[in-house]
C-alpha cells in the first residue's frame, strides 16, 4: 500500500506521454474566431475550398513594367526548377504559356451559352455565310492595325471566339489583372507548394528554401537590378507563426520563470526551495500541456500563451505554502497543508472558474487559453500542495522564522502607517479628479480593425499590405459565396443574384459586381448545345476545305480543330461537363469549388457595405458574404455583447460570493469599490500609454475582476484576522500579495512581446490591470476599510 502511495504517481506518466504525443499546433488565425459568425464561415469556406488560399505569393516590385514582368518570369522559372519544392509557379495567366489549352475552354464556354446562341453560331457557319465571312476576314487581315483583331481573325476565321458578351467576359486573355498592378510595376507570382512542404512543422524550412532559391535567382545575371522580392500568402504566414510561436513560448516562459525565481530569491534567499519551485513549475506546465493534448489536441496561436500566465498563477500557491511553512517552521507539511490548503483550493477553484468563463467569450482561441489555464491552475494547486511543499520544506523543516506576523521595524512601519492614515484617501481623491479629467479628454478608444489578429513585425504582413495597396479597389469589396447541392441549384441562385445586384446597381446602392455566371454550366443548355456542337464537329472536313479555298493555310484551322475535338470529347461525358486542362482548372479553382455537400461559387461586390449587399440579396438563398475588412466590426459587435454579458454574470457571482465570504454588506461594497478603482487606474494607464481596447484585450476585463476581487478579499480578511493591525497585515498578506502580483504581472507582461498582436495587447492590459488591482488592494483598500470601520484608533 505504501509502495502504491509512494510511486503511484508514476501511473500518470502514461497519460502525460499520450497527451504530449497528441499535441499539435494550429497557426490558422481563423480558428481563433467564432464559427457562428457568417463572415467567419465565409472566410473558412473560402480558405478550405478555393485554391489560391494555399498558395505562396511572391511579390515583385520594380521601377518599370518591363523589369517587373521579366523578374517575375525569372522568379517563376527559378522556382519551377525544383519540383520537390514547388508544384507550380505561375507568373502570368497559364493559358498564355499553354495556348493549346484555350480551345477546350472556348468549346466549354460555348456549351454554357443559351441554346439560341449556339444555333446562331451554327447558322453563321453554313456554306454561304461562311464564304462571305472568310472574304471579309482576309480584307481585315490586310488592313487591321489591332493586334488582338489580327490574331483573332487569323487564327479563328470561323469566329469560334465570338462568344456572346457574358461568355466573352470569362474567356481567357483577360487574366493579366490578377498578376499585375494597374501601372505594371508590381507583379505577383503564385506558388503552389510542392511535396517538401508538408504542414506546420516544415513550413519554416520550406519557406527558407524558397527564399534561398529566389536569392540565388536575384544574384544571377539578367535579374533587373532594381526589382525587389517579398513573400506573403498563407504559407508565409504559417511559417512566421511557427517560428513566432516557438520564440514566444521560449521567451515568455523563460522570462517569466526567471522573474519568478529572482523574486523568490530576493524574498527568501534559499536555494533548495527555489530549485524545487522551478522544477515543479515545469512539471505543472508539462502536465497542463499533456492535459491540453488529451482534451483539446491542437493548440492555436493564442492558447499557447497559457504557459506564461499559468506560471504566474501557479507560483502563488507555492509562495503562500512556503511562506506559511517558514512562519511555522516546527509544523510538519501535513499541518501546513491543513492551515492553508483550504484557502489555496478555494483560490484555485475561483481562479479556474474565472478563466474557464473565457470559454463563453465566443472566441475559440481565447476559450482554449482559458480552459488550459483553468486546468493548469487546478493541477498547480495539487502539485504545490502535495509535491512542492514536502520537498521544499525538507526533512527538518524550514530554518528560522521568516519575518511573518507583521514583525517590521518601527522605522519601516511609520511611512506605511502615515500613508494609510493621512495620504491614501487624499491621493485617491486626487487621482479620481485628475484621472477623470484625463479620461474625459482621451478615454481609451475601441479599435474596430482586425489588427489584433495580425502578426507583429511580420514581413509577410508588410508584403500583403503592399499587395493590397497595389490591387485595392476603390470602395472595398465584399466577397460572395453562393452554395448549392448541384450545378443547377448554384446556377439558379447565381442568376437570381445577378438580377438582384443589377437592380441594386441601377439604384446606386451597389457599385459593381462580379459573379462567375459565364463560367457556371447550365446542365439543360449543355445537353442541347452538345447536340449542335457535335454536328458542327462532324463537318470538320467541310470547314477545312472552305478555308483552303479562301486562301487560308492549315495554321488557321488549328483552333477550330481543337474546339471540335473538345466537343467530341465532351459528348462522351455523362452529366454536366467541366474542362480538364491545367489552365482551365487554374482559372476555375479561383471561383468554383466542389464540397462534400455540393458546390460553391465565389463572386465579389464592389463599392458597397455588407448591409447594402445583404439587403440586395435578401431573397436569394445559400448566399454568404465575407471579407477581412468586414471581420473587425462583426467580431467587435459580437465580442462587446459577449463581454458585457460575461462581465455582468461575473459581477453577480462576485456579489454573491463576497456576501457569503464576509457576511455583511460593507466589506463586499469596499471590495467592489476597490475593483472599480483598479479598473479606473487601468483606464488611466491605457489613456496615458495611448492603448486602445480591441477584440482580444476586451476579455481582460473578466480576468481582472477575478484577480482583483481575490486581492480585496485577502486584504480585508487579513485586516479582520489581525484585528486591524496594519503592520501585521502588510507584513504577511500584503507582502505575499505583492510577491504574487509581481509574478502575475511578469507572466502577463511577458506576453506583451508576443508575435501575435492580440495576445500582446491582452498581456499588456492584463499586466497593467493586475498591477492596478494589487496597488489598490494594498495601497488604498486598508485606508477605506479603516474609514468604513472607524478603526482610527488602531492606526494611531
Amino acid at each position: 500500500m505504501n509502495v502504491l502511495r509512494r510511486w503511484g504517481w508514476l501511473l500518470l506518466l502514461g497519460p502525460v506521454v499520450i497527451g504530449l504525443a497528441r499535441l499539435r499546433f494550429d497557426a490558422d488565425v481563423l480558428n481563433l474566431l467564432p464559427g457562428e459568425l457568417p463572415v467567419v464561415q465565409g472566410l473558412k469556406l473560402h480558405q478550405r475550398y478555393f485554391a489560391q488560399d494555399a498558395e505562396l505569393i511572391v511579390t515583385i516590385a520594380a521601377d518599370d513594367p518591363d523589369s517587373a514582368a521579366h523578374a517575375a518570369q525569372l522568379a517563376a522559372e527559378c522556382l519551377r526548377a525544383d519540383p520537390d519544392l514547388v508544384a507550380s509557379a505561375t507568373w502570368r495567366p497559364p493559358w498564355l504559356e499553354h495556348p493549346e489549352d484555350t480551345a477546350e475552354f472556348i468549346a466549354w464556354l460555348w456549351l454554357n451559352q443559351p441554346p439560341e446562341a449556339m444555333r446562331r453560331l451554327e447558322a453563321g457557319l453554313a456554306a454561304t455565310p461562311l464564304r462571305e465571312r472568310l472574304r471579309a476576314t482576309r480584307e481585315a487581315l490586310a488592313t487591321s492595325m489591332s493586334p488582338a483583331e489580327i490574331g483573332r481573325l487569323g487564327y479563328d476565321p470561323l469566329g469560334l471566339t465570338d462568344l456572346p458578351a457574358s461568355g466573352a467576359a470569362a474567356s481567357p486573355g483577360q487574366g493579366e489583372e490578377q498578376f499585375t498592378s494597374a501601372d505594371g510595376t508590381f507583379r505577383l507570382v503564385f506558388v503552389e507548394p510542392g511535396p517538401a512542404s508538408s504542414g506546420f512543422a516544415t513550413a519554416h524550412t520550406w519557406l527558407t528554401r524558397v527564399r534561398a532559391r529566389l536569392d540565388e535567382c536575384v544574384r544571377r545575371d539578367g535579374w533587373p537590378a532594381e526589382a525587389r522580392v517579398a513573400l506573403t500568402g498563407k504559407p508565409a504566414f504559417v511559417a512566421e507563426a511557427a517560428t513566432g510561436m516557438r520564440a514566444d513560448i521560449r521567451s515568455s516562459v523563460a522570462g517569466t520563470l526567471a522573474v519568478i525565481l529572482i523574486l523568490f530569491w530576493l524574498a527568501h534567499r534559499r536555494w533548495r526551495p527555489l530549485l524545487w519551485l522551478g522544477f515543479f513549475l515545469q512539471v505543472i506546465l508539462l502536465g497542463t500541456a499533456a492535459l491540453g493534448g488529451l482534451l483539446v489536441g491542437t493548440l492555436n496561436l493564442v492558447s499557447f500563451g497559457f504557459a506564461a500566465i499559468l506560471l504566474g498563477l501557479a507560483v502563488d500557491y507555492g509562495l503562500v505554502l512556503y511562506q506559511e511553512a517558514r512562519a511555522h517552521g516546527d509544523l510538519p507539511a501535513a499541518a501546513v497543508r491543513e492551515r492553508v490548503g483550504g484557502g489555496i483550493r478555494g483560490s484555485a477553484v475561483t481562479t479556474a472558474t474565472a478563466f474557464a468563463l473565457l470559454l463563453l467569450s465566443g472566441l475559440p482561441g481565447l476559450g482554449q487559453l482559458g480552459l488550459l489555464v483553468a486546468l493548469g491552475v487546478l493541477l498547480g494547486a495539487i502539485v504545490m500542495l502535495y509535491g512542492f511543499l514536502p520537498l521544499a520544506r525538507g526533512e527538518h523543516g524550514t530554518t528560522g522564522r521568516h519575518g511573518g506576523d507583521g514583525q517590521r521595524s518601527p522605522a519601516a512601519q511609520s511611512p506605511v502607517r502615515f500613508w494609510h492614515a493621512r495620504l491614501a484617501n487624499p491621493v485617491a481623491t486626487l487621482l479620481l479628479v485628475v484621472g477623470g479629467l484625463v479620461l474625459w479628454q482621451r478615454f481609451p478608444s475601441v479599435d474596430h480593425s482586425t489588427q489584433p489578429l495580425s502578426p507583429r513585425h511580420s514581413p509577410a504582413d508588410a508584403a500583403m499590405k503592399e499587395l493590397e495597396h497595389h490591387f485595392a479597389r476603390k470602395g472595398g469589396s465584399v466577397f460572395t459565396l453562393v452554395s448549392g447541392q448541384d450545378e443547377a441549384e448554384v446556377r439558379e441562385r447565381l442568376s437570381r443574384l445577378e438580377d438582384a445586384f443589377r437592380v441594386a446597381g441601377s439604384h446606386g446602392t451597389v457599385g459593381g459586381h462580379e459573379l462567375p455566371l459565364a463560367l457556371w454550366p447550365v446542365p439543360g443548355w449543355q445537353r442541347v448545345n452538345l447536340a449542335v456542337a457535335s454536328a458542327l464537329a462532324d463537318r470538320t472536313e467541310d470547314f477545312r476545305g472552305a478555308l483552303r479555298e479562301a486562301g487560308f493555310s492549315s495554321e488557321a484551322m488549328a483552333l477550330a480543330e481543337g474546339v471540335f475535338r473538345a466537343w467530341q470529347a465532351f459528348a462522351q461525358a455523362v452529366g454536366p461537363v467541366w474542362p480538364s486542362s491545367d489552365s482551365a482548372r487554374w482559372l476555375l479553382a479561383r471561383v468554383v469549388a466542389r464540397t462534400p455537400d455540393g458546390w460553391l461559387a465565389l463572386g465579389a461586390v464592389h463599392g458597397a457595405g455588407t448591409e447594402a449587399v445583404a439587403q440586395a440579396a435578401r431573397d436569394v438563398a445559400g448566399v454568404t458574404f465575407f471579407g477581412w475588412q468586414l471581420l473587425g466590426e462583426s467580431l467587435l459587435q459580437y465580442m462587446e455583447t459577449r463581454v458585457t454579458w460575461l462581465f455582468a454574470m461575473m459581477l453577480v457571482a462576485l456579489v454573491v460570493c463576497l456576501r457569503w465570504t464576509f457576511g455583511n454588506w460593507t466589506e463586499p461594497g469596499l471590495s467592489l469599490a476597490a475593483l472599480a478603482f483598479g479598473l479606473f487606474l487601468l483606464l488611466l494607464v491605457m489613456a496615458t500609454a495611448s492603448w486602445s481596447w480591441n477584440l482580444m484585450n476586451l476579455t481582460a476585463l473578466p480576468l481582472l475582476l477575478g484577480a482583483g476581487v481575490d486581492y480585496a478579499i485577502h486584504v480585508q480578511l487579513a485586516l479582520r484576522r489581525h484585528a486591524g493591525d496594519l503592520s501585521a497585515v502588510l507584513g504577511t498578506t500584503g507582502r505575499a500579495l505583492l510577491l504574487c502580483s509581481g509574478t502575475t504581472v511578469a507572466a502577463f507582461g511577458s506576453l506583451a512581446w508576443s508575435s501575435n498582436a492580440g495576445l500582446a495587447s491582452l498581456g499588456a492590459v492584463c499586466a497593467a490591470g493586475v498591477a492596478c488591482m494589487a496597488t489598490t488592494a494594498v495601497g488604498f483598500l486598508p485606508a477605506w476599510h479603516y474609514a468604513a470601520r472607524r478603526h482610527d484608533a488602531v492606526m494611531d
Binding site: 495556348p99 487591321s144 490574331g151 487564327y155 489583372e177 483552333l559
Partner: protein
C-alpha cells in the same frame, strides 16, 4: 503542337506593332554613305538633326502564317519631328494610325470606330515598345540608339545596304526577332523595311515617292474625329 489562340494573338501583336516601329525607323532612315556599320550609323544619326518632316507612299506586304499567299496593301505615311506621324493603310484608307506625343489613335473610318492608346497605361507595353522603337528612328545621339538596339549585321548588295537590328528591350525581343532597314547607299534614302517575327510571319514596307523636309499641314496629325465615330480605349481597366 500547332499554334492556338493565345500564341497567335501575340504573333498578331508583333505583326502590327512592329509595322509601326519599322515605319518610324524608316522615316528616320535618311543619311550619308555606307562604309561599315558604325560609319553608316554615325552618318545616319548625324543626319537626323536635319530631318523635320518626311512622307512617302508605300506598299505593305503581310506574309502571315495563316494565309497561303501574302497580302499586299498600298498606303501613305507622314512624319513630323519630333514625334508625330500619320499612317494610312489602304486606298481609300481602311485604317489610319495617328500618333501625338504620348497617345496613339487607330481609326477605322469604314467601321466608324477609333481606338485610343495612352502610352502610360498598363497593358500597353506592346504599344510602348513600339513607340520606343519609333523614337529610335529619330535618336538624339549614338548612345541613346545603342541603348535601344544592337546592330546584327550590315550587308551591301547592288547599291543597297541592309542593316539588321535587334531591340535590346527584353519584352520587345519576345515578339520581334529582327528589324531590317534597306537604304540606297548613294543617298541613304530608305527604300524598304522588314520586320521578322518569332512565328515566321513578316511585314515589309516598300517605299516610293519619298519627300524630306516638305511642309506638312498640322491638321494632318489631328485626329479630328467626326461625331459619328465611336472612340474606345482598349487598355482602360
Amino acid at each position: 503542337m500547332k499554334p492556338a489562340l493565345g500564341r497567335n494573338v501575340r504573333g498578331a501583336e508583333r505583326f502590327v506593332v512592329w509595322g509601326l516601329v519599322a515605319l518610324g525607323l524608316a522615316a528616320g532612315a535618311q543619311g550619308a554613305g555606307v562604309a561599315d556599320a558604325n560609319a553608316f550609323l554615325a552618318a545616319w544619326l548625324g543626319a537626323q538633326g536635319e530631318l523635320k518632316t518626311w512622307s512617302a507612299d508605300f506598299t505593305q506586304t503581310r506574309t502571315l502564317k495563316v494565309l497561303t499567299e501574302p497580302l499586299r496593301t498600298p498606303g501613305r505615311l507622314w512624319f513630323a519631328a519630333p514625334d508625330q506621324f500619320r499612317w494610312e493603310l489602304g486606298q481609300p484608307p481602311q485604317t489610319i494610325a495617328l500618333r501625338r506625343t504620348n497617345e496613339l489613335f487607330v481609326i477605322y473610318p469604314r467601321l466608324k470606330r477609333a481606338e485610343r492608346y495612352p502610352m502610360t497605361a498598363a497593358g500597353g507595353e506592346t504599344w510602348r515598345d513600339a513607340l520606343a522603337l519609333l523614337d529610335a528612328g529619330f535618336p538624339s545621339g549614338r548612345a541613346e540608339f545603342d541603348a535601344r538596339f544592337r546592330v546584327l549585321s550590315l550587308v551591301e548588295t547592288d547599291g543597297l545596304a541592309t542593316v539588321s537590328l535587334e531591340p535590346r528591350s527584353v519584352s520587345a525581343r519576345k515578339f520581334i526577332k529582327e528589324i531590317r532597314l534597306t537604304l540606297r547607299t548613294s543617298d541613304l534614302a530608305l527604300t524598304a523595311n522588314e520586320l521578322r517575327f518569332a512565328d515566321g510571319s513578316s511585314l515589309r514596307n516598300d517605299f516610293t515617292n519619298a519627300l524630306a523636309n516638305v511642309a506638312i499641314p498640322p491638321e494632318r496629325f489631328d485626329p479630328a474625329l467626326p461625331a459619328d465615330i465611336q472612340v474606345v480605349e482598349p487598355l482602360k481597366r
